[in-house]
């Protein structure tokens, strides 16, 4: 069963168009011009219960806009959308009981009161039964290490502490889906690690569907099995992380250390088409090769004809590089690939 389903989802905004300078400002006063900004267009999503999905794309690609439409904050300008079978905007209050949301730069906590009071207030807002609340509070306090944070006011918490509290808030009412928009932004490695562990556990143990946006590919590889890439408002890839690599990463590389000085010109001559030296030093060399034409063994054998290899290291295809290419617009993924 799909808990999230969209068909042809679109959202565009109207933005004023202004010419620079005082004159431009005065002109806009009397003859305003606007232009249409398309944030999201023709987005089709089908996410099943229990999945963990990473939603990735450069800044301004439409990630947050999509999440905001799925959570009922924004009204779509076109297309269909269903979350747990409900329309998130028109049936917002019912939908909100089924979802948990974490925005990395926002908090659900009340700034000036102790965290625990925010929790109880939210318990009343979500009408969480006392028993469920007590169980969840104990569970989250243990997993996220909240014990010493609960009696401090939110404004005294560090970003990482606040994010841990916000995660607990998002899951307190046992939602079926949790949306996380940049949950690890600005956090240190230890806190990131803890949050990823937490997300994996609730996904596994409680079957919570996770949809996550992040610029941190560590989050994505660690937590998610499925990857959706959006660019300029369109979905350009939807599939497994391995699938993306298989399809779009042609190159693999091998780094070797030789026992003696490598004769660079003759080494270069030894390389056939599709194998290329990308970095060379006195006794060190990195070679990139088309992984669909050659195996690592083939390449190693070729190198050994030119150098005395004492050690080597194989570098696996790297998701980071793929996504970076997408961000920089260098990799044109096919629509619907």
């Amino acid at each position: 069963m799909n808990v999230i389903e969209t068909k042809g989802l679109c959202k565009s905004f109207r933005s004023p168009l202004k010419k620079p300078g005082v004159l431009g400002a005065v002109r806009h006063l009397f003859r305003p011009e606007h232009r249409e900004i398309v944030a999201v267009t023709e987005v089709d999503l089908a996410i099943a219960a229990g999945e963990s999905v990473a939603y990735v794309g450069p800044n301004g690609a439409g990630k947050s806009t999509t999440i905001k439409m799925l959570t009922g904050i924004l009204l779509p300008t076109g297309g269909e959308v269903r979350v747990n079978g409900l329309h998130p905007y028109h049936q917002r209050m019912r939908n909100s009981k089924n979802i948990g949301v974490v925005f990395g730069q926002r908090t659900q906590l009340w700034w000036d009161i102790p965290v625990i009071e925010s929790f109880t207030l939210l318990r009343d807002i979500y009408e969480v039964p006392e028993k469920t609340y007590a169980e969840n509070l104990a569970y989250f306090t243990g997993m996220l290490g909240l014990a010493e944070l609960l009696h401090q006011s939110a404004r005294r918490l560090s970003l990482g502490q606040r994010m841990r509290c916000d995660l607990a808030v998002a899951l307190m009412h046992n939602p079926a889906i949790v949306f996380l928009d940049e949950p690890t932004i600005g956090l240190d490695v230890a806190v990131k690690e803890r949050i990823r562990e937490f997300l994996k556990t609730v996904n596994r143990e409680r079957g919570v569907t996770i949809m996550l946006t992040s610029h941190d590919l560590g989050d994505i590889e660690d937590v998610c099995r499925r990857l959706i890439i959006i660019d300029a408002g369109r979905i350009i890839y939807d599939g497994s992380i391995q699938g993306l690599l298989d399809r779009y990463v042609k190159q693999r590389s091998i780094r070797i250390i030789a026992s003696a000085r490598i004769d660079q010109p003759s080494a270069a001559r030894a390389m056939p088409a599709g194998v290329e030296i990308v970095h060379a030093d006195e006794r060190e060399m990195t070679v990139e090769f088309d992984r669909f034409r050659y195996t690592a063994k083939d390449v190693l054998e070729i190198i050994m004809t030119a150098a005395e290899v004492v050690d080597f290291q194989l570098e696996e295809p790297d998701i980071e590089r793929v996504v970076k290419n997408v961000y920089e617009g260098r990799l044109e993924l096919e629509q619907g690939a």
């Binding site: 005082v22 400002a25 005065v26 806009h28 006063l29």
Partner: protein, 266 residues
């Protein structure tokens, strides 16, 4: 010269900013008039059956209200809002790292706002005055000069009072209560809604020593020719003294505010 240009740039930017939001701009202008409409009709009702009250006839009163409207439009709510906004959004930190004097920069911005809004309000006001055919303008060039000078004094005085109240936002969470208090006090003691000559003796004595009267009462009474020429110089001297005092008071409060910012980290 460069220093001057720096602040001129603030003035120009403020004009642009004020007009940046079309609908808001026009609404700001309209809202200037609304509260005066109620006051206008109240006075009209008061003057039916009374020809002269507190030494002013209905014609004087209309001219007085016109100037009151004009001077209050020169520094509208949006300028007042600016100072407190940058404090509660934390934007103050950005403004602090710039190599400009905060007080002077704010003054320049207020001048820009005043030009953008005041010009239109003045135009509408004068048009309105001509249509109804009231408000006898000052007779002599000298009186005009005094009036314009009084408007300049009014502007600076009001800016300083608004600015000082704005600075108190450093110690409070929302600027609203303070800005209401400020508005209430200035409106009352400046003679914006009721001329000071109507006040009972003790209250008038109080209003006369306070700085507020420079904002409305002085320019308005000069405009309608009810301030005796012999008193004008002395009045200006007192106003100038108040401006100097308020300018340094603002500096002092700023100094304490900065100490607070550096302790609390904004």
């Amino acid at each position: 010269m460069l220093t001057f240009q720096k602040y001129l740039r603030h003035v120009l930017c403020a004009i642009q900013e004020t007009t940046a939001y079309r609908a808001s701009y026009f609404i700001n202008i309209v809202s200037q008039f609304v509260s005066y409409i109620a006051i206008f009709f109240l006075w009209r009702a008061v003057y039916t059956g009374n020809s002269v009250i507190g030494g002013m006839d209905w014609n004087d009163m209309q001219g007085y209200l016109l100037i009151s409207l004009f001077t209050s439009a020169l520094i509208s709510g949006s300028s007042e809002f600016r100072v407190s906004r940058s404090i509660w959004t934390g934007n103050i930190a950005v403004e602090l790292v710039r190599p400009v004097d905060y007080q002077k920069a704010n003054f320049s911005i207020t001048v820009g706002n005043g030009i953008a809004e005041g010009v239109l309000v003045a135009a509408i006001g004068i048009l309105f005055a001509l249509l109804i055919g009231f408000a006898v303008p000052p007779a002599s060039p000298a009186a005009w000069l005094c009036f314009l000078l009084a408007v300049a004094f009014s502007f600076i005085t009001k800016f300083l009072i608004v600015y000082i109240f704005g600075l108190f936002t450093f110690w409070t969470t929302g600027g609203m209560g303070l800005s209401w208090l400020r508005r209430g006090l200035t409106d009352f003691f400046s003679g914006a809604i009721i001329p000071l000559s109507f006040f009972p003796g003790w209250l008038k004595a109080a209003a006369d020593v306070l700085p507020f009267r420079g904002i409305v009462s002085v320019p308005a009474t000069i405009f309608i020719g009810r301030l005796p020429p012999s008193q004008i110089l002395a009045t200006f001297a007192v106003e100038a003294a108040w401006i100097a005092a308020l300018w340094w008071l603002a500096r002092l409060i700023w100094h304490f505010a900065m100490r607070k910012v550096t302790i609390h980290g904004g």
